[in-house]
């Protein structure tokens, strides 16, 4: 227990895998547990096995965090974002030729001395985090967001990200457990408590492109015994993205208004 207590005082390490397409993937089960128990951050378990491809009820590590969850943890000041490749390479150097470290297998024996540009991780890397090295590999929120926005799959703009984060934060601070809502065609699904114990009753949609989405959303939500929530932030959206202090903007607290939509007359 004393170990756990010790760990609890430390911030949670969020490994940033592949800095070009930034993805926070957590393999450390202790960290996953702390996120869920202490902060109500669910993330999505995405690990599956080749032998068991239809396993889709409970998946395994790694845990993938949504961008808003990462920002929220930053705002609570309870996490550090770490460039995991750099960290592992530094660690390997520090161990100086001690090849017991199974995280760092270089396929080519000749190149064993050069730094590999890939990463092999097991479920639990089994070692204590080296805080000195972690301090060297910290990634700031600003650079994480910059990388997130410039990644090819990302279609969000900075003002959108800020306003969506405000909505997320509002819900999170209301005490809801939040998971992504793609399976219900929304942006988020909120639960009144841990999803393993409670059913969700709301689907969140950040913004609408056309009116059909209200029809579809309302109909879908009512069909699965939920309601649909549209949110509006008082934060001024039209701001030039140049020279914007993103972190400050993100951590501001605008007023959020929420509207719920339900289909009437369905049994």
């Amino acid at each position: 227990m004393s170990e756990n207590e010790l760990a609890a005082s430390k911030p949670i390490v969020l490994p940033l895998i592949d800095s070009a397409n930034p993805e926070v993937l957590i393999f450390n089960t202790t960290a996953i547990r702390r996120l869920r128990d202490e902060y109500g951050i669910l993330g999505v378990l995405i690990g599956t096995l080749a032998q068991y491809p239809q396993q889709n009820v409970f998946l395994s590590v790694p845990l993938k965090l949504m961008v808003w969850e990462v920002i929220w943890l930053f705002e609570q000041d309870v996490c550090v974002l770490v460039d995991w490749l750099k960290y592992c390479n530094l660690k390997k150097d520090a161990m100086n030729g001690d090849y017991k470290n199974k995280n760092l297998i270089s396929l080519d024996k000749k190149k064993a001395d050069t730094k590999p540009d890939f990463l092999i991780t097991t479920n639990d890397y089994g070692e204590e985090d080296d805080w000195e090295l972690i301090d060297q590999c910290k990634v700031t929120l600003q650079s994480y967001i910059d990388k997130y926005l410039s990644s090819p799959n990302c279609k969000t703009t900075i003002p959108q990200l800020i306003s969506n984060y405000h909505k997320f934060k509002h819900l999170k601070n209301e005490g809801y457990f939040i998971s992504p809502g793609l399976k219900f065609g929304g942006d988020l699904v909120i639960y009144p408590g841990d999803p393993l114990r409670y059913h969700s009753y709301s689907i969140i949609k950040f913004d609408f492109v056309d009116i059909n989405e209200i029809i579809v959303g309302g109909r879908l939500a009512t069909g699965v015994k939920k309601n649909m929530i549209i949110m509006e932030s008082s934060h001024a959206k039209e701001q030039s993205s140049v020279g914007l202090d993103v972190a400050n903007e993100l951590f501001s607290d605008p007023t959020i208004t929420a509207y719920s939509i339900e289909w009437a007359g369905f049994g």
Partner: protein, 385 residues
Amino acid sequence: MGKRNNRQLNKIYSRPLPITLTSQHYGITLPTLYPHNPISWIWFMIRYCQINVFYPVPESQTFEVHWENGIFKVVDEESMMKLWQMGFFGKGVLSRSEPTWKERVLARKKENVEAKDVAMEDITKMRREERKLFKSSRAQLQELELKDRQGIITAEEVEQLKALSETVQVLRKKGRVSGRSKSSIVERDSDGEDTDSEEEEDWEELAQLEYLQLQLVETFFLKFALNVINIPGIASTFDLFKTCCYQYDNNQSIQPNNKFIIDYVVYHHFRSLGWCVRSGIKFGTDFLLYKRGPPFTHAEYCVLVMKPDEQEYDWFQMAAKARVIGTVKKIFVLTYVGCPSPEEFKELVSQCEKDDTGLAIGDLLQQYKVSEILYRRWAPSRTRD
């Protein structure tokens, strides 16, 4: 729907489009053709030529459509009814689809007199109320049964239990029957004319507040493809075409990927393949395809017209739509429309401008190509076995 009812419906909705055929107009039919009998071939040819030469093509009835505040309206009661019965065009603005508002109001006004016609909306209402009653009595019944099992039931409650279980049984049976065969529909009078004088008076008193609203594509189809409507203020087919296009393109030049043109191409495509096409807005799609029409069967397909590249639907929208459509047991059809190049389009439009008959629009629309893809939501764990 029961057999007898179907016959009634067949009579009311005998014509799939609001056009008059020569055979119907003059009451003549072509002789039966026996493929193995050459004489029947000759006789068929003779009759065919006769009919084409001696009987002029009958004029179809034209309907008056008004263009007001961006809406195409049909206000005349007879036209409203005919456009609905022949091809299911338009929507009554105070009804679910068929313009039944006046009928329903009249039925409500003379509640003491037994209603002859029950509108679809009323059936839905009745069913929902029945269901509510069923659910509440079932809940009560389950509660009492639980008490019974626990042995804490009183004599009074035993009586109640018996009565409830009967009610639930009756309701359950009723729900099944009325859900499937709609036995609660009172049949329409086959003559439909023997209304007594009292009713006649009521009919006169009540002003028709409802009008039939036509979609842009429906209006253009009635004008361009069938030529059975007349719109005061919009004389030629090309004027109508432009009016419809400007609903989406505000700048005065029409683009090849104008939403109206794309929608119309899809609408015309499915209409010409014999489907009854209606708006699919209630499921968040563009069109619904009915085999014959709403009174006969449920729609089988939901058609979504895919937008041109820049404004594609994202996965959230697709997932939501597919899920809604999946739960109502329809098939989701994505239609992609290939447009002509801007130069080609410009040239064809300028040709349309010179042409008074409106036939050049046909050449223009022929440049569009439609292709369909079926999309289905599939959850591997649920679909197994």
